[in-house]
Amino acid sequence: MDKAPITDHTNSAATNVVTQNDASDNWIDALKNQIGSGRITEQPDSDKLACIHWKVAANSWEIVAKEAHALNARWAAGWADHQLDHSGEVVIDQFSLFVLFVIRGRYVLVETQLENTQDDSLPEIASHSAFYPGASRCERHTSDMFGICFNKLDKSIDSRRWTRHQAWKEDEYPLRHGFPLEGHPRHRTPADGEYPFERIDGISVYEIPVGPIHAGVIEPGHFRFSAAGEDIIQLEQHLAYVHKGIEKLAVGRDPAALARLAGRVSGDSTVAHGWAACQAMESAAEIEIPERASALRGLLCERERVANHLGDIGAICNDVGFAFAHIQFGRLRELWQRRSQQLFKHRFMMDNVIPGGVVHDISEENATLLNSEISALIEHVSQLANILEDNASLMDRLVTTGYLSEQTARRFGALGYVARASGMDDDVRLHKPYPPYQDNPLNCPLLEQGDVASRLKIRVQEVVASLQFQRKLLRNLPEGPISMAFEAPVNTHGLGILEGWRGEIVTYVRFDHEGKIARFYPRDPSWFNWPCLQQIVKNNIVPDFPVCNKSVNGSYSGVDL
């Protein structure tokens, strides 16, 4: 029912690797033609960023999104940066806006500059959310933090506050220069009761407010349901209850301290975020880390993937009252994490990735040990997965629940297992392989049903694929050092793009003239998967929300920043 031209395009591309690459290469040329090459200034740092980097004028901002959308590109990330320089003769006070588009691993970074208005009015720019609904929250975040208006006059553009609750005032913009790290805290932060939720009126429509405090031990987030009886008409999320100020905290740090901070963007993705930040810094410094270091990073990241998927599989089943799977998968995950604790000194492997390499090496003995464990785990997971699939009562709950069509997934830019369960085969490891994935091709599972059962199955398949990859990696661990000295570069920027366990992570890092961090922006996959959840639960019943939510498992911390 959802066979839009988009899907035909990519499906035909998937059949042939050669045409696929050609098509992806062509898309950038096509985009350039559509926008008009006169409007684009190519930047010389494309090699360094490992993606095409264009600058456009602010008035071309909308046409970029429009043409990229016409070419079915995905809106992968969007962020801003504030530059203030009094040292020169001319005072530079301007904002840079970045947006990243991609088709199958071919990224284009488009940048524009906005002068900071010196009076009280805010700089304005066109919004991309009309073409890319998934971009909306990123823009609202940028708007809250920098005071940049996106289509101020257009009422169809959602311009409500997002990250801003009541911790700072309406006319304060924390990520602008001059705003102090500690802010201007009031004696007591007022309650945030005035957020204008979208309302649905009608007979027998009622609202169910859920959270931000939940009955289970989970992160805070508010969910506002509009329901008629048990049927969900609309769900609206309100997050950012635990805004940690990550982006502001990063400013002025040295590279090692940034890597530590990045590891705390979202605790369950600590390796992936730490790695993405290091990748960005290393791309800025234009260094290549030793092979063994990349291999070990790959191992850590895959271990993280396996641990989280194991936990999620059990948790999805537990949400429909099937505790057996919860206990069994919980046990496997616990054993796995204890091994991480033993080998990498942390259950979540926090702070293992540092600029220039990794902290802990792995001995020959331990590699053999891990290998035998991996083989046993593959066996266990397959057995348990068979039990799950054979349980009619469980599958009755999961099949057809929480359906996400490929079309909707594409529209909102879904990532990771959410996308891959809906037939969207986006995977950075496959399409823009970085070491160690370059040398070890990965088996990347893809399902098309798009329901909770698919998101469960794809996790099982990803666990097995990841374990097989780890086994290959461990058998051919390159010799050599596990880290190298990292010297912070000055006045430059870098981009890190990799596949965390939730999906593609994009991290932007800019160094100032002293080699300290001037801007750090980590884009967690949850920025796009949370809005997908709002689509997923439509036409489901209220009591099915928890299982839909768990099947997506967005990170609160990753978007609260």
């Binding site: 859920v210 289970g216 009252g321 057996f324 046990r331 349980n391 009755d396 209220v542 099915d544």
Partner: protein
């Protein structure tokens, strides 16, 4: 058949005639209700233990529910400002109505004066009274979850009650009385006869019991997900002694259904006379029956996932339909005119 009717009449006379004035019988009735209250947390603890065992866990000790109750009774009861008096009295009403309900059920002995006063329809009535106040209490605080729990509970009970009554009527038609004690004695007298109608009634009553006591696949008593809750959603605002009473009533109700099913369909071992060995034997028998029944419940809760809320009516309709089939098979096969 006529003989059977005659004997049941005699029995009824004997129950209502002699036992109402027998102080030992009254003592027995009180003792029995007390035993019910005392043992019901143990049953819940045992079910938890079985489930843990089936999940390859060690699990909490069997006595854990008692500790939980002691803890809750020692805690302060916090009452929301928006609530009315209903919220505060509901736990007591729910607990006492469940207590009255269990007093009607023969646990170890059939000579119950209470059973002579109140028959099985009154028993269902007591449970309905408790539920009525539970539902009101869920609505009282004005929170979305309480309201959802109440509405779901009402939906489920409105379908469970007819099915339960229908199953019980099969029994009543066979023994020609709605008096539980008399019914049990009669089945004992008749010895072991496989009646198709009883088989249908047993399955129907088992299904209803699972729904009424909020177990998987209808409700999940151990969930923390407020949106999926039914019974627990109504208790979300409760704390301290109020919560303790509510939880205790829930385990009491679970045991009530367990005893009801065991003693109606497998009455062997129950004491028909008030002698010490007979009562000890009966106690042992009922504990054994509940022991096994709990294991069956734990097994079914382990292999089943919770169903969608809107499957619950289908499930209960099936229970009702089975009971109806039982009734028809009784009329067709078992009544000799």
């Amino acid at each position: 058949m006529i003989a059977a009717i005659a004997s049941s009449d005699i029995l009824l006379d004997s129950v209502s005639g002699s036992d109402l004035l027998n102080p030992f019988a009254w003592l027995m009735a009180i003792l029995q209700a007390f035993l019910f209250v005392l043992l019901s947390p143990l049953l819940s603890g045992w079910i938890h233990k079985c489930k843990a065992f089936l999940q390859n866990r060690r699990g909490a000790p069997v006595l854990q529910p008692y500790r939980d109750l002691r803890k809750l009774f020692g805690k302060e009861a916090i009452v929301a400002e928006t609530t009315s008096i209903i919220f505060r009295i509901a736990p007591y009403i729910v607990f006492s109505s469940t207590l009255l309900a269990v007093a009607v059920i023969p646990l170890v002995a059939t000579m119950l004066p209470t059973a002579a006063i109140a028959d099985i329809i009154v028993l269902i009535g007591f449970l309905a009274l408790g539920r009525f106040f539970l539902v009101l209490a869920g609505l009282d605080a004005g929170t979305a979850f309480g309201g959802m729990g109440s509405s779901r509970e009402t939906m489920i009970s409105s379908m469970a009650e007819p099915a339960a009554l229908m199953a019980i009527f099969i029994l009543a038609m066979t023994v020609h009385t709605t008096n539980l004690a008399a019914a049990i004695e009669l089945s004992l007298q008749n010895g072991f006869v496989i009646r198709p109608s009883f088989l249908f009634a047993l399955i129907a009553l088992l299904m209803v019991a699972v729904a009424e006591t909020g177990r998987i696949p209808i409700d999940n008593p151990s969930t923390h997900l407020e949106l999926t809750m039914i019974h627990e959603a109504m208790l979300l605002e409760y704390s301290g002694r109020h919560l303790a009473l509510m939880e205790w009533s829930a385990s009491l109700k679970l045991m009530l259904y367990g005893v009801l099913i065991s003693n109606i369909f497998f009455p062997w071992g129950i004491a028909t006379e008030l002698t010490v060995p007979a009562i000890l034997m009966a106690l042992l028998a009922i504990i054994l029956k509940l022991f096994v029944l709990a294991m069956i419940l734990a097994l079914s809760e382990t292999v089943l996932a919770k169903m969608r809320v809107f499957r619950a009516p289908q499930y209960l309709n099936l229970a009702f339909f089975l009971a109806l089939l039982g009734m028809i098979s009784h009329l067709v096969l078992e009544v000799h005119v």
